[in-house]
Symmetry: C2
C-alpha cells in the first residue's frame, strides 16, 4: 500500500486575507497535484507578516508532506516569504547565481537593470533548489524540511502555473520514483453543472448514489449559475483501477438522474456549450438585453471565436431604445409594461429581424433593488426567443437575490433557453 | 495596554479548497471584527472532512482568540461542522429547542416540514449559545474553549452577514465589556484605487511614505482593473488616537502622490464613480462596444439606478452591425480596418447621434487569442469618446494578457476616459 501523501497550500498576501481578493490558484494546484495522486487537504491564507508565515509553515509540516506556498516573492517591502522560510527552517538566505541570472535576463528584456529592491528576489535559502521563472522576474525554490517538501512560487497565476508545470511537477515525479514505490494513481474529479434545480432538490435526486464505503466523495455547491455536483476519488491510499471504473459508473448515474438539468461537465461553461452548438449548426444569434445590461453579450464574447456565431447585441435600457433599436411598438410597452411577456417576445423578434440572423434572444426584467411593484416584484424576468419559424417563445421567471444575482441568473436562464432550443432543433 | 486579540477564519467546504470557488466572506468578517479592534491574522480552508476540521480548530485555538467558522451547517451528508466542533472540544451534540424552533418556523414559511436530514441542523454542542439565523434554516452557535471563542456560522454570505450583525457582534462587544478593560480602538483600513500605472511604479511613487516604526501597514495589489493601495492601522495593541491622525496624514500623502491615477477610494468602483458624475452633471451616455462585447454595459448597469444616465448600448461584433447600428461608413472600415482610431471615433459619434444623448463611448480592439497581425497585434485597442462638441477623441492602447484580461482592461480604460472627460467638463 502506498503511504498517504497530502498537500497544503499556503497563500500569502494581506489582500487575500482581508481585502476580499480571491486566490484563484487552488483549483490549478489541486488538479496538478491530483495527477500525482497527491490530495490537497488544507489551505492557509496569511498576511504579509513574517511571523505569521513562519507559524503557517510550522503548522503545515505537521499535517502535509507537500507544501506549496504562493506569493510574497516580489520586490516590494511587504514581500517576505523568502525571509519567513529561512527563519522557519533555520536556513540562511544568500544570493544565488541561478536566481540572479534569471532576474537580470528578464529585466534586461524589459530594458531595465535590477535595483537593490529587485536584487532581493535573488535571495534563496541555503540548500534549496532554485526554480526558474520562465515568465516573470522572481525565482522560486524548493527544499526538504522535516520530511516535507516546501515549495515557494510567485502568486501571479501565469507565473505560478508555468513554474508548476516546468519545474515542480518533474521534481515531485522524480521524488516519487526515487522511493522505489509504485506511482500513485491520480485523483480523478468529475464535475457536473446543473441549472434549474435548488440545491436541496439536487441533493434529494442524488440520494443513495454513493455505495457505503466507496472511495468517492460527492460534493454539491450552489451559486447563481446553478448547482455544481462533483465526484472525486479519495486521494493517496488504497485507490485502485476498480475504483476508477466505479467512478465512471457513478458519473453515468449522475447523468441519468440529472439529465434534464445538466448543461455542462468539467470546466465547460454555459456560454461555451451554447457557442459550440451555434457553430455546429451554423447559426448566427443576436441579443436584446434590458435588465442584464450587456452581461449575455459579455459572456458569449468571453469565448474565443465567438464572432463566428454572435452578430450583435442591443442593450436597450430605455423604452425609447427598445422602440428605436428593436422596433418594439411604443403602445405595446404602454399597454403591457416594459417588463412583460409581450415585450420580451417583441424584443427577440425585433433583434432577429434587424440583424437578419437565425435566432434572436431577449431579456427584460426588474433587477432591483428599486422599481418593483406588487404585481411586478423585483426578480420578475421575461426571456424571449425567436427562431423565425412561428411565434416567439417568452418565458416568465421569478428570481431571488440582489441585483448582481438576478442579472447572473437571468443571463444563465436566457442562455439555457437558447441551449434547449438548439438541442430541440437538432433533433427535429 | 489592551492585550492582543486576534481572529482566525476557518472556511469549510471542499469546493472552496479545490474547486476554485472563492470564499467571499473574508472581507466582510475582517471589516466587522476590525470595528472591535480584532485583527484577522489567519484564514484556513478545509474540505468537508470531520478530522480535518478538528485539526483546523486545534491549530486555530493556539494562535487566535476569536475563531469564526463558516460553512458545513447545511442538511446534506457532507455538512459536518457540528460534529467536528463537538469532537474537537469534547462536547456532546444534542437537539436544542432554540435551533429547532428556528428551523421549523423557517421551513413552515416555505411550506415544508423538516425531514430527518434537516433535523440534524438543530444539533448544537453542549454549553454552546445558539445563534439565530434570520434568513435561512441553519442555526449557528458560539462556545468558549481553551479561552478562545469558537463561532460557527453558515457559509451563505447573506445568512452569515445577518447573523454576524445581529448575533455575533453584540456577543463579542459584551465579552469585551465584561473584562473591564477599555474597548479597543477599531482597526482602520483605507483603500485607494489607481489605474494607468504598473505596480512597480506605484511602489516607487510611495517610497518612504510610511515613517519607520509607524503602526500602519501599506499594501499593494495589482489586477487588470488597476493597482489597489491600502493603508491599515495595526490591530490590537498600542493603537492610539494619534495613530489615527497619522493615518489621515498618510492618506492625504497617498492622494497627493497618486492624484493623476487615483479614481476611487474604499469600496467604490469605477462604474459607480462614473455613474455618480454622469448623474451629477445630468448627462446621458450611450455605448458602442466591439471587443468588450457588452462588458461596459454590464458594469454600468451593476449600479442601481443606472437607467438615469445610461440610455443604450450597441454590441457591434460584426462589421455589418457597426454600419447598420452606428452608421460607421463601410468604406472607412475597409480603408482603416475595424480596429482603428478612425472607426473608434466614428462608433462613438454614431452611437451618440443615434441615441440623441450627451456623450458616446466606444471600444474596438483585438482581444485575442486569434486575429492579431504584426501591425495590429492582440491587445491593440482603440477607445473613442464623442461629446458632440467638436471632433471625437480616439485613444490607442496596447494591453497585455489573455482575452479576459484584455476585455477587463479595455472596459476600465474606457470608463476611465469617460471619467476624465467628465471631470474636465466640470471644470471648464
Amino acid at each position: 500500500m502506498v503511504p498517504s501523501l497530502d498537500a497544503e497550500i499556503i497563500a500569502i498576501g494581506t489582500e487575500l486575507l482581508i481585502g476580499g481578493r480571491s486566490d484563484s490558484n487552488s483549483i490549478f494546484l489541486a488538479d496538478e497535484l491530483g495527477k500525482l495522486g497527491i490530495a490537497v487537504r488544507f489551505k492557509s491564507v496569511v498576511g504579509d507578516h513574517r511571523q505569521d508565515i513562519v507559524s503557517a509553515i510550522h503548522t503545515a509540516v505537521k499535517r502535509a508532506q507537500v507544501i506549496i506556498m504562493t506569493g510574497g516573492l516580489g520586490p516590494t517591502v511587504d514581500d517576505c516569504t523568502r525571509e519567513a522560510v529561512a527563519q522557519a527552517t533555520g536556513r540562511r538566505l544568500g544570493r544565488r547565481k541561478g536566481a540572479l541570472e534569471g532576474l537580470t535576463t528578464r529585466l534586461a528584456q524589459w530594458g531595465r537593470v535590477p535595483n537593490s529592491a529587485q536584487l532581493r528576489q535573488a535571495l534563496i535559502p541555503s540548500g534549496a533548489t532554485v526554480l526558474k521563472n520562465p515568465v516573470g522576474s522572481a525565482a522560486g525554490f524548493s527544499l526538504i524540511w522535516k520530511k516535507a517538501s516546501i515549495i515557494s512560487l510567485p502568486g501571479v497565476p501565469r507565473e505560478m502555473e508555468e513554474m508548476m508545470r516546468q519545474e515542480v511537477m518533474p521534481l515531485l515525479r522524480a521524488a516519487t520514483a526515487s522511493t522505489g514505490q509504485p506511482p500513485r494513481l491520480p485523483i480523478v474529479r468529475q464535475v457536473f453543472h446543473t441549472f434549474g434545480l435548488a440545491e436541496a432538490d439536487v441533493d434529494a435526486s442524488l440520494k443513495g448514489l454513493i455505495p457505503k464505503g466507496a472511495p468517492v466523495d460527492l460534493g454539491l455547491l450552489a451559486s447563481p449559475m446553478g448547482v455544481l455536483v462533483s465526484l472525486t476519488t479519495k486521494g493517496s491510499q488504497s485507490v485502485s483501477k476498480k475504483h476508477h471504473d466505479l467512478l465512471q459508473q457513478l458519473a453515468n448515474d449522475v447523468r441519468a438522474r440529472l439529465s434534464n438539468w445538466l448543461f455542462a461537465e468539467g470546466r465547460d461553461q454555459m456560454e461555451e456549450v451554447v457557442g459550440r452548438e451555434l457553430a455546429r449548426q451554423g447559426l448566427m444569434v443576436a441579443i436584446a438585453e434590458s435588465c442584464t445590461g450587456g452581461l449575455i453579450g459579455h459572456r458569449l464574447t468571453q469565448v474565443a471565436g465567438s464572432s463566428a456565431y454572435l452578430d450583435r447585441g442591443a442593450v436597450c435600457y430605455s423604452n425609447r431604445a427598445k422602440t428605436e433599436m428593436l422596433g418594439v411598438p411604443a403602445d405595446l410597452i404602454v399597454k403591457h409594461g416594459a417588463v412583460s411577456q409581450e415585450v420580451a417576445a417583441s424584443m427577440a423578434k425585433g433583434i432577429r429581424e434587424r440583424a437578419k440572423v437565425s435566432v434572436g434572444l431577449s431579456v427584460t426584467g426588474i433587477a432591483g433593488p428599486g422599481g418593483g411593484t406588487e404585481s411586478k416584484p423585483v426578480g420578475l424576468v421575461f426571456i424571449g426567443l425567436d427562431g423565425g419559424d412561428g411565434q416567439p417563445i417568452a418565458q416568465e421567471f421569478r428570481f431571488h437575490g440582489d441585483r448582481t444575482v438576478i442579472k447572473q441568473r437571468s443571463s444563465q436562464a436566457a442562455l439555457n433557453l437558447l441551449r434547449r432550443w438548439l438541442l430541440d432543433r437538432a433533433t427535429r
